[in-house]
């Protein structure tokens, strides 16, 4: 375990030694960002809309006290999704989608000697292949989380009004009630932390693959499980430190 962690740190160090030209790095980062963004936007959209809808329905089910105004439902949906559900659930979904993609891609390049081919050309393969993925994730994850925030609040709106749990006016009053801008910043900081963990852990697992197709599958699975655990631990630590 400790040995693994040490190797992970050495791996992170190797990313930033012998840097390729900034222009190449920039182009690679843009390519990776487009890949991560386009590949994940659909699943993030679906998941966050439903999460908002389900949160709204369940809050309204639990809120039976007639003294509490119905607009509280909107308030609760906003608080839960922005603070926790949008960044964390989105990141867990992305750990599955982006993490496995990174690990299997790098693993395949490793076992088919494409990484060796880069090294023979004198290119630092860690720096060339991995660093752009991590930087791209650091930019794209917060954007996806912002999207997830909007869509989950919209999902709550749709579910709330369709089931007549509350009126549109009540929902809007609710989501505007006692708004704390810091919560958004907190969620975005979390998403950057999660982006780093997911992209670097998955790269580490993928880059260190050796063997054949079976090992690529194993690396991909390990990337997702380790990323999810890391995200949940980091979620707790962030809440303790920043709230």
């Amino acid at each position: 375990m400790l040995e693994h962690f040490g190797k992970y740190l050495i791996f992170l160090g190797s990313l930033v030694t012998r840097i390729e030209s900034p222009r190449i790095l920039f182009n690679r980062t843009i390519d990776e960002a487009i890949l991560i963004g386009i590949n994940s936007i659909f699943i993030v959209g679906i998941v966050s809309t439903f999460i908002g809808a389900v949160t709204c329905v369940q809050v309204s089910y639990n809120l039976t006290n007639a003294l509490i105004p119905r607009s509280t439902i909107g308030f609760m949906v906003r608080e839960m999704t922005i603070l926790e559900l949008a960044p964390t659930i989105t990141s867990i979904v992305l750990a599955g989608k982006v993490g496995s993609n990174i690990a299997s891609g790098l693993g395949t390049m490793q076992i088919t000697e494409q990484v060796d081919a880069l090294e023979v050309m004198g290119i630092n393969s860690e720096n060339y292949l991995v660093l752009p993925k991590i930087i791209a994730a650091l930019f794209v994850f917060p954007m996806l989380v912002i999207l997830a925030m909007f869509l989950s609040i919209a999902g709550g709106y749709i579910a709330g009004t369709l089931t007549n749990a509350l009126t549109a006016q009540e929902y809007i009053t609710g989501i505007r009630d006692a708004f704390v801008p810091y919560n958004i910043l907190f969620a975005l900081i979390k998403s950057v932390v999660f982006a780093f963990l997911i992209s670097s852990i998955s790269s580490f697992k993928g880059y260190n693959t050796s063997g054949g197709a079976l090992e690529v599958g194993a690396a991909s699975t390990a990337a997702v499980t380790n990323s999810v655990i890391a995200v949940l631990i980091a979620d707790y630590v962030c809440a303790q430190l920043l709230l």
């Binding site: 494409q114 060796d116 081919a117 090294e119 023979v120 050309m121």
Partner: protein
């Protein structure tokens, strides 16, 4: 000319290379011959610096490579072209981008149109003009090797390394790839090392041959001497190779006969 001196390599407690020394000459196809698992690929990787030998050194035209300063190693690496056993084409790029890639990385000053000229020249040289836009997944094994060779020679390499260039190919394609490697070697007067376990290659293109057996160099010489060697392991290897070839021939003839009967 590449010289290797007393190369040792151990993985865990398994000794893979046990003090290999030798010289690979310029303008010649130098073969590393041996059965599977005798350390040919590891030796090749030690020479190009993908694997660090435990002891020993490699010298490229008099410049010390192993353990030298990073920029000197990089300078030598720019002159190295390598064809990997599985071709190792970048599968996210098409043929043209694969061949262009080392030019983009190694000669950033080159203009786009100069690069394209060079790419087209190299693709033509390996007999693949017009396949620029194909993806690696659309290519046959032999075509992949050709693209691999084109990518290796694109930046005007001085040293060409090929790991089992004809494994997994049918005999005719295998001979064509071998011949291509030999032609390129002579044409550009480069130093070429080819790893192989195939006696056909020895007969076709082997100018200098080094025979490896369990991590040791047991014999070296030219293809004219190889049949007269008095090394027991080499003779056994040649014999086994011939048996295998005969068996293959019989099999092919039988298949042919069967097909003829069907028709």
């Amino acid at each position: 000319m590449i010289e290797i001196h007393n190369i040792h390599k151990t993985f865990g407690d398994k000794k893979v290379l046990d003090g290999v020394s030798g010289v690979f000459e310029t303008g010649k196809t130098n073969l590393l011959l041996g059965a599977s698992g005798t350390g040919k690929s590891v030796l090749l990787k030690c020479i190009v610096g993908l694997v660090k030998p435990d002891i020993g050194s490699v010298t490229f035209d008099g410049t010390y490579f192993t353990n030298n300063k990073l920029d000197i190693r990089q300078e030598i690496r720019r002159k190295i072209g390598m064809l990997f056993q599985g071709s190792a084409l970048f599968d996210s790029m098409n043929v043209q981008q694969n061949v262009e890639f080392p030019l983009k990385m190694l000669t950033p000053d080159m203009t786009k149109s100069d690069r394209m000229d060079r790419v087209n020249f190299c693709l033509k040289r390996v007999g693949l003009e017009g396949s620029n836009k194909k993806m690696p997944s659309e290519l046959s094994g032999g075509m992949k090797k050709r693209v691999g060779i084109a990518r290796a020679i694109a930046p005007n390499c001085t040293y060409l390394f090929c790991d089992e260039p004809n494994s997994g190919l049918d005999p005719l394609t295998a001979i064509k790839i071998d011949e291509l490697i030999k032609e390129i070697t002579v044409e550009y007067n480069i130093t070429t090392i080819v790893v192989t376990h195939d006696m056909n290659s020895v007969i076709e293109i082997g100018d200098r041959i080094m025979f490896l057996y369990q991590g040791k160099k047991l014999w070296e010489g030219t293809r004219d001497d190889i049949m007269d060697s008095d090394v027991k392991e080499l003779n056994e290897f040649i014999f086994a190779n011939r048996l295998m070839r005969d068996a293959k021939k019989v099999e092919e003839e039988e298949e042919q006969a069967e097909n003829n009967n069907k028709q």
